[in-house]
């Protein structure tokens, strides 16, 4: 299986461990990921607050590059573009919808792309890694490669707000389960908790800190209350908010107890028997020490 891969800015810096673990896991599972060349930032939630057409143009340029580099044509009707960041995934999927349903915006963007000799014809399939692993590859294929099952590990699966709403079709908007099924396939035990799609605060944690901290604090507290040993995320900003701010969180909410927050790909890697350093586990602020597969 070969796919194009759109890292987005965060996977090259604060979310580096997400890229490291994703690439290591894919290599082990025989999933080919080729980084989209010359990709630009998708614009996140910020560009949309300034200018809609330009925000969609940023997304559309990436989609057009994917069509070109994925060589869509007679024998290749579509190309898969894998976006691990929830914000990137949502922005790119939203742009696809808008270009299709809104002729006015679509027309402007088509013309601007054409000026740079690019075109987007609607043949990119956006995929989040959760979709890739559970639907394209399949849980059985993953299960077969597990060498260190996560026996006894209680996991809170956190999807965050943006991957499943409102454009994603690979999982349920209200009660997503792909990550839970994946954890089960790895031998772990997903805990039942109601906040799996509640927003962590997004960029508010960096701007209006108290608001963001409280939102993240509630998530971690509930996960702990439900008995989780670890919380898994599928987005670099979710991971950053929930993990790197646990010190200021403790200052504001003295009853806060540290909880390791990993990318789901890091835990997958451990279950597949990969070394910790290849999964970026040394980059954690709140270390994950629990041994797995014993």
């Amino acid at each position: 299986m070969n796919h194009l891969y759109y890292p987005g800015c965060s996977l090259k810096s604060t979310g580096r461990a997400y890229e490291e673990s994703l690439l290591a896991v894919c290599a082990t599972l025989g999933v080919g990921l080729t980084e989209l060349q010359d990709w630009n930032c998708c614009g996140a939630t910020s560009y949309m607050a300034i200018d809609e057409v330009k925000a969609f143009a940023l997304a559309a340029r990436n989609l057009a590059l994917a069509e070109e580099q994925g060589k869509v044509g007679p024998g290749t009707p579509t190309v898969d573009l894998v976006a691990p960041c929830a914000a990137c995934y949502l922005v790119l999927a939203k742009a696809q919808h808008c270009l299709e349903e809104n002729k006015e915006v679509g027309g402007k963007i088509t013309a601007a792309l054409a000026a740079a000799q690019l075109q987007y014809t609607g043949r990119v399939v956006m995929r989040h890694p959760l979709d890739l692993f559970t639907n394209a590859l399949g849980l059985d294929a993953i299960k077969a490669q597990v060498t260190k099952p996560l026996t006894g590990l209680k996991v809170a699966c956190y999807y965050g707000c943006q991957i499943v709403r409102p454009y994603a079709t690979f999982d349920d908007q209200y009660h997503p389960m792909t990550m839970d099924h994946l954890v089960t396939a790895l031998g772990g035990t997903p805990v039942d908790w109601p906040l799996k799609t509640r927003c962590c605060g997004g960029s508010l944690t960096g701007t209006v800190q108290e608001v963001g901290l409280r939102m993240s604090y509630h998530l971690l507290k509930e996960a702990r209350k439900r008995g989780a040993d670890v919380l898994l995320t599928a987005c670099p900003l979710c991971q950053f908010n929930l993990e790197c701010y646990q010190d200021p969180m403790k200052a504001l909410f003295p009853d806060h107890e540290p909880l390791p927050v990993l990318y789901f790909t890091q835990l997958m890697g451990l279950a597949l028997g990969l070394e910790r350093a290849r999964l970026g586990l040394q980059r954690l602020f709140v270390p994950f020490r629990q041994p797995v597969g014993v």
Binding site: D38, S46, A49, C161, Q162, Q282
Partner: protein, 197 residues
């Protein structure tokens, strides 16, 4: 004696086209469909901090309370989590209404000037426009310089830790701009700017 001001708006004070304008940018259902059920406000994780809840923002926009809606903190506190949108029984795209209000507030210079969220949006966009990519470190530095330089010191501990863990680079991320070659982002910007004029 303190000055007496009128606290109730007359119809003449409102902007009759505001609702349509905003709904036009956000698309989807018209705001007239809103039944003021409050599902959006209940679903919103940030509403306890907002000056007007999402339900009220919809009502105000619909009634043409332009200045109030555009200078609210609500629109900048909205984290774009789409919870309201998936919960609205009338399929109003509330998150997109918030985006439309933000765009309008920036255009009309009505946003709270030193409010970090609006500053972040502007700094982020300026960097992406210039370099094609965003560099987290630089974004944070600009954000603090323009809002609260004193708070930077507090954040620098986090920054240093990120750096030590290999999670923050010092390099400016960028793609080639203005090459005029196939796919050049600058060419796309120029074409869009021309179309705007």
């Amino acid at each position: 004696m303190d000055e007496i001001t009128r606290t109730v708006k007359y119809e003449a004070d409102t902007d009759p086209h505001f609702a349509e304008e905003i709904a036009g940018i956000a698309r989807g259902e018209t705001l007239r469909a809103c039944i003021q059920c409050g599902n959006c406000s209940g679903a919103c994780p940030v509403s306890p901090y907002m000056d007007y809840t999402p339900r009220r923002i919809i009502a105000m926009t619909r009634a043409g309370f332009k200045r109030e809606a555009l200078s609210s903190t609500t629109i900048w506190l909205c984290a774009s989590c789409y919870n309201c949108t998936v919960e609205c029984p009338k399929q109003i795209r509330i998150t997109d209404v918030m985006y439309a209000l933000k765009q309008k507030a920036i255009k009309e210079r009505l946003y709270p000037k030193r409010f970090p969220v609006a500053v972040l949006a502007r700094e982020f966009s300026a960097a992406v426009r210039q370099f094609g990519r965003n560099s987290e470190l630089w974004l944070i530095i600009y954000l603090y310089l323009k809002t609260n330089p004193f708070a930077m010191l507090k954040q620098s501990i986090l920054g240093l830790r990120l750096f030590l863990q290999g999670r923050m680079g010092l390099k400016r991320e960028r793609i080639p701009m203005g090459t005029g070659k196939k796919g050049d982002l600058q060419t796309i910007w120029n074409a869009l700017d021309r179309a705007d004029r």
